[in-house]
């Protein structure tokens, strides 16, 4: 899934960023952008109208705004942690969206089986009277 790949990419970037250690502000800037991307993906997901998904998208969005403020106040460590919170909420939103979709698909798949079995039952009832003599 594309969104999962984004999440993985973001996590990788994060760990690389931390081990390199460079300029805190630059890293936070990058993290900001990536976190926003994760939130956007979650928003665009099919289940964005799902209330649970929407809730975590909102958390992510609000925490991202808080992170920006913290960065502006120079509190880079706190900002980073807030970004982590935002990102994990975006990831959770996505996971919930995917779960909802999988559940729906499973439900539809079983419905198809039921329909097929019912069609079968009807067909064999008809064909029994089909012997041509």
């Amino acid at each position: 899934m594309k969104s999962t790949n984004i999440a993985i990419a973001l996590t990788t970037l994060l760990s690389v960023g931390l081990s390199v250690g460079g300029c805190a502000h630059e890293l936070s800037q990058r993290k900001l952008v990536e976190t926003q991307a994760a939130i956007d993906t979650a928003k665009k997901s099919e289940r964005a109208t799902n209330p649970e998904v929407a809730l975590y998208v909102k958390y992510a969005h609000d925490q991202l705004a808080q992170a920006r403020e913290l960065m502006d106040d120079g509190k880079s460590k706190a900002a980073r942690r807030m970004l982590d919170r935002a990102r994990v909420d975006a990831e959770l939103a996505l996971a919930l969206a995917e779960t909802a979709r999988s559940r729906q698909e499973a439900k539809e798949a079983w419905q198809r089986v039921e329909d097929l079995k019912e069609k079968n039952a009807n067909k064999s009832a008809d064909s029994n009277s089909n012997d041509f003599e």
Binding site: E91, A95, L96, E98, S102, A106, A109, W110, L116, F132
Partner: protein
Amino acid sequence: MKTISSILTVLAIAAAPAACAHGPTSTLVEARQEYAQAADGPAKEYAPVDLYEAEKALQRAEQAYEKDPGSERERDLAYVAVRRVHIAEARAAMRKAQRAEQEAEAARVATLQQQRDRSIEQLAQTKDQLDDRERALQDREDALQQAQRERDRFQRRLSAATSTLEGMATIEKDIDRTVVILNDEVLFEKNSAKLIDLAKDSLRQLSTALKELDGTPSIVIEGYTDSTGSKVHNQRLSQERANAVREFLVQEGVPPKVVSAIGFGEANPVASNSTPEGRANNRRVEIVIEDQLDGRSVVGRGESR
């Protein structure tokens, strides 16, 4: 659970140095509880990697707690841990649903295969029915052809049989019967039922040919007179003449069962009785030869009129 007991150990150690330590943040407490629940549930089987990530996140939060209990850092890390637990649970639910979908697909395929097998079976049955029908038709056609062949053979032999009488008799061939018409002059002495020698020679040849007929022919000998004399007399004479021919044929070896003799008297004239020629034509014997292939009952030409 190993992980839960390790957390409890951490808690015990962390609780020991009371000093000015805060308790854990409510978020960390939540994280511990959520993790303990999840570790015991479907996430263990269906999302072990995500659950492990949650465990690591919880450990980072615990480390933050040890360093600085009640801090914002501890809370933030615990927050992430809680979400990681929920992600693990969501992924587990997703995989369970995916597995359910796969099972549904397998069930659908199995049902389709069942359908297909049933259709194949029905097709085979229908084919068998058709084959049987075709075989029956073929058998019927073969039987018809066989019957035709036998009829043709009968006709050929009958032609051979009656050809011996050419010149003496009139031979009428219908689809299902052959009629040999002989005038009384070539058969009998005048006004009697006694066969003349000429007749015996011809009838002998006829009987030889008749004996060689296959199948079950039926031979009806019909006697007819003209209208001179009384009806009673003519009836008797015609019957006696028919009998005479029959007796001779039987004598010559034609099976008695297949030959019968009927006298019709002056009935069924074939010509006008007012002229000598006409009367001569009416004084006759008709030998009706039928093939009995289809088991029809014997009906001489006289009766069918």
